[in-house]
C-alpha cells in the first residue's frame, strides 16, 4: 500500500514536470499557431544554466535564478530571430526550422559542457525526507517540485482567466485575426507568451536537474512525452494540459513500477520482466491511441 502511494507521488511529480512543458507548448500553438520542437531545448537550457550556476556559486537558489533567466532570454531571442518569421508559414516549415534549432542547441551544449552528464546536488534545505503519510517517508525535494508545479498551474489559471493579458491570450487562441484587427500589439503579445512558455520550460528543466542527470538530448526525450500530453489533453487547451500531464505522468510511472510484478504472477520471471518493460515503455502511447479512438480531438478540445 505504502509503495503504491509513493509511486503515485512519483507519478504526480512527473506529471507536474510535463505540465510545465505542455502549458508553454500548447499556449504557443494556441496563440501563434506555431509548433515549436525547440521547446525541449529550452528545458535543457534551463537545466544546464542552473547546474552550471549552482556549481559555480554553490547556491541552488542562484542556480535556479540563472536557469529561469537563461531559458527566458534564449526563448525570447529565438522568438525574435527565427520563430517570428515562421508564424505565417505552414507547419512543415516550422517543424524543419525548429528541428534545425534543436541540432544547433544540442551540439552547442555538447561543445560547451561536453557529452558527460552533469549532476546537480539537492539544495540542503530540501534534501531530507518527510512522512506526509504515516509510514511513507518521501523526499522533500520531490514534494517541493509537486508544490511548485501546482502553484504554477494555479497562477496560470488566474493569469489566463482573471487578467487583461490573459483575456488577450484567450482571445488570441479563439481568433487571432480578430485580436490583430482590434489593434492589439500582437507582436508584443507573441513575444510575451513565448517568453512565458520558455520560462516554464526552463523551470521544469532546472527542477528536473537534481532528480535526473543533466545531459544533451534530455529535452527531446521529454518533449515527445509532452506531445503525447498535448494530444491527449487537446491542443491549445491549458486545462487539457493539466489533466493530460497528470494522466500521462501517473500512467507512465505506475505501469513501469507495477506491470512487471503483475505479469510475474501469470508467467515466468524473465519473460514477464521483458514483456513488462516493453509494454510499460509503450504504455502512454497506447493510452494516446485509445484516447484518439474515442476522442480524436483530445479530452478538452480548445475550440468548439
Amino acid at each position: 500500500m505504502s509503495l503504491i502511494l509513493e509511486q503515485i507521488l512519483n507519478g504526480l511529480q512527473l506529471g507536474v514536470t510535463l505540465f510545465l512543458l505542455a502549458a508553454g507548448l500548447t499556449l504557443v500553438f494556441g496563440i501563434m499557431g506555431v509548433i515549436n520542437l525547440a521547446h525541449g531545448s529550452l528545458f535543457m537550457v534551463g537545466a544546464y544554466a542552473a547546474a552550471w550556476a549552482a556549481g559555480r556559486t554553490g547556491s541552488y537558489a542562484l542556480g535556479a535564478l540563472a536557469g529561469l533567466a537563461a531559458a527566458a532570454l534564449i526563448g525570447i531571442l529565438v522568438e525574435f530571430v527565427v520563430l517570428r518569421r515562421l508564424y505565417d508559414r505552414n507547419h512543415l516549415d516550422q517543424v524543419l526550422a525548429t528541428f534545425g534549432l534543436i541540432l544547433f542547441f544540442n551540439q552547442g551544449t555538447a561543445m560547451l559542457f561536453g557529452r558527460q552528464p552533469l549532476f546537480v546536488d539537492m539544495p540542503a534545505l530540501l534534501s531530507g525526507a518527510v512522512e506526509i503519510i504515516p509510514g511513507v517517508p518521501y523526499p522533500v525535494y520531490r514534494l517541493a517540485v509537486i508544490a511548485v508545479g501546482l502553484l504554477v498551474a494555479a497562477g496560470l489559471y488566474l493569469l489566463i482567466n482573471h487578467t487583461r493579458i490573459g483575456m488577450l491570450v484567450r482571445a488570441g487562441a479563439t481568433n487571432r485575426e480578430m485580436v490583430r484587427a482590434l489593434g492589439v500589439d500582437v507582436r508584443l503579445l507573441y513575444t510575451l507568451v513565448f517568453g512565458l512558455g520558455a520560462l516554464l520550460a526552463g523551470l521544469a528543466g532546472l527542477m528536473a536537474g537534481p532528480l535526473s542527470s543533466v545531459q544533451v538530448g534530455m529535452g527531446e526525450n521529454i518533449l515527445i512525452l509532452t506531445f503525447v500530453v498535448v494530444v491527449i489533453g487537446g491542443i491549445g487547451s491549458v486545462r487539457g494540459a493539466v489533466f493530460g500531464a497528470l494522466l500521462v505522468g501517473l500512467a507512465d510511472t505506475l505501469l513501469r513500477a507495477f506491470l512487471p510484478g503483475l505479469l510475474r504472477g501469470v508467467m515466468a520471471g524473465p519473460e514477464a520482466d521483458a514483456l513488462g518493460a516493453g509494454i510499460s515503455s509503450m504504455g502512454v502511447y497506447l493510452l494516446m491511441a485509445v484516447v484518439l479512438l474515442l476522442r480524436p480531438r483530445g479530452l478538452f478540445p480548445a475550440h468548439g
Binding site: L92, L96, F99, F104, Q107, I224, A274, A289, L292, L293
Partner: protein
C-alpha cells in the same frame, strides 16, 4: 516562365520524349558509377553513393505523403526501422535455426526477407496510420512522432534481439548467387530498387489516385465536396509510403549488416523530412537530389569538424526561411520548368 504553367499531362510530346531520354541517360550514368569510381581511385565513394540511393528510396516514399498529399509525418523512420528489423530478426532466427514464436522459420534469402520487410512495415503503417489519420495538422505531426517513439522503445526493450545495442548480421542476405558484400553489387541492387520504386511512384502520382492526393493537399474540403472521402486515400498513401521506407530499411540492413533502435530514432525521421524539403516537396526526383545532398553535406561537414550539427542546424533554418521550393525548385526555375502546381 510560360512553360511552367503547362500541366504535366498536357505537356507537348517532344518534352515528354526529351524527359525520358534524359532519364535513361541519367540511369545509365548512375549504373556505370561503381565501375568508373574505382578507376578514379575513389572506391570508398561507392559505399557513400549506395547510402544516398537507399536514403533516396526512404525520402521518395515520405514525399508521397508529405509532398503530394500534404501529410506531415514526423515518424517515417519507424517504418524504415521496422523494415530493417524484419531482415535482421529473420536472419537471426535463420542463424540460430529456431522459428520465430515457434511458427515462422527464419531466412537469409533476400527475395524472401526483403518482401517480408516491405509487407510488415506496410502493416505497421496501416495500423498506426489508421489511428494517426484520425487527426490532422499539428496533432498529426505530434502523433506520428509519438508512435514512432513507441516503436523505438519497443525495439529497445527487445533484449532478445540486442535491445539498445542492436543486432549484427554476419552476412548479408543471399540473392541469386550475387555477393552483396561487394560494394558495386550492393550499389546496383540499391539503384535497381530505387528505379523500380520511382517508377511505381510516377505511375501513382499520375493516376486518378494521385490526383486525389494532390487535391487533398490543396483543399481537402473541396475534395469532400466532390463526393470523395479523403480518409481511405490518405491511408492508402500512408501504407505505400511505409512500404517504401521498409524497403529502404531492408536494403540498409543488408548494406551495413547491422540493425539497431537508432534506425527508428526521431532524428532519423527529421533527416528524411530534410531530404524531402531540401530536394523540393512534391517533385518525383527532388527527394533523390535531397538525399544525395544531405548525405554528401553530412559527409563533407563531418570530415571538416566533429561539431557539424552545430553548423547544419542554422543552415537548415536558413534554407527553410529563404530557399522555398528546395533544390529542384532552384534548378527548375533556372531551366524554366516549374512545378506542376503552386
Amino acid at each position: 516562365m510560360a512553360r511552367a504553367a503547362v500541366e504535366p499531362g498536357l505537356r507537348p510530346l517532344a518534352w515528354e520524349m526529351r524527359g525520358r531520354v534524359a532519364l535513361a541517360l541519367a540511369f545509365v550514368l548512375l549504373a556505370a558509377l561503381p565501375f568508373v569510381l574505382p578507376l578514379l581511385g575513389a572506391q570508398a565513394v561507392v559505399g557513400l553513393a549506395t547510402r544516398m540511393l537507399i536514403y533516396a528510396i526512404a525520402a521518395a516514399s515520405l514525399n508521397l505523403i508529405l509532398g503530394y498529399a500534404g501529410l506531415v509525418s514526423f515518424g517515417h523512420a519507424a517504418y524504415y526501422g521496422v523494415g530493417a528489423y524484419v531482415v535482421g530478426i529473420l536472419y537471426a532466427h535463420w542463424a540460430s535455426d529456431e522459428p520465430l514464436l515457434g511458427l515462422v522459420p527464419g531466412t537469409d534469402q533476400f527475395l524472401l526477407a526483403v518482401p517480408a520487410a516491405v509487407i510488415v512495415s506496410g502493416l505497421a503503417a496501416l495500423v498506426l496510420g489508421a489511428l494517426s489519420l484520425r487527426t490532422s495538422g499539428v496533432q498529426f505531426i505530434m502523433i506520428t512522432l509519438a508512435f514512432a517513439q513507441m516503436l523505438f522503445f519497443l525495439f529497445v526493450s527487445l533484449d532478445h534481439y540486442g535491445g539498445d545495442d542492436g543486432l549484427i548480421m554476419r552476412r548479408p542476405n543471399a540473392l541469386l548467387g550475387l555477393n552483396l558484400r561487394d560494394d558495386a553489387t550492393m550499389y546496383l541492387v540499391a539503384l535497381g530498387a530505387l528505379a523500380l520504386y520511382l517508377l511505381l511512384l510516377s505511375r501513382i502520382v499520375r493516376s486518378r489516385f494521385g490526383r486525389v492526393l494532390s487535391g487533398i493537399r490543396q483543399d481537402e474540403r473541396r475534395v469532400i465536396a466532390l463526393g470523395i472521402e479523403p480518409y481511405p486515400y490518405k491511408l492508402a498513401a500512408f501504407v505505400i509510403a511505409g512500404m517504401g521506407a521498409g524497403l529502404a530499411g531492408a536494403l540498409m540492413a543488408n548494406m551495413t549488416r547491422f540493425v539497431s533502435p537508432d534506425m527508428l530514432h526521431w532524428t532519423k525521421s527529421g533527416e528524411f523530412m530534410i531530404m524531402v524539403i531540401l530536394g523540393g516537396v512534391g517533385s518525383l526526383f527532388g527527394p533523390v537530389l535531397g538525399a544525395a545532398c544531405l548525405i554528401g553535406l553530412e559527409y563533407v561537414l563531418a570530415g571538416l569538424t566533429e561539431d557539424w550539427q552545430f553548423y547544419l542546424g542554422p543552415l537548415l533554418v536558413l534554407v527553410v526561411l529563404f530557399a522555398r521550393g528546395g533544390l529542384s525548385g532552384l534548378l527548375g526555375r533556372r531551366a524554366g520548368v516549374g512545378g506542376s502546381d503552386g
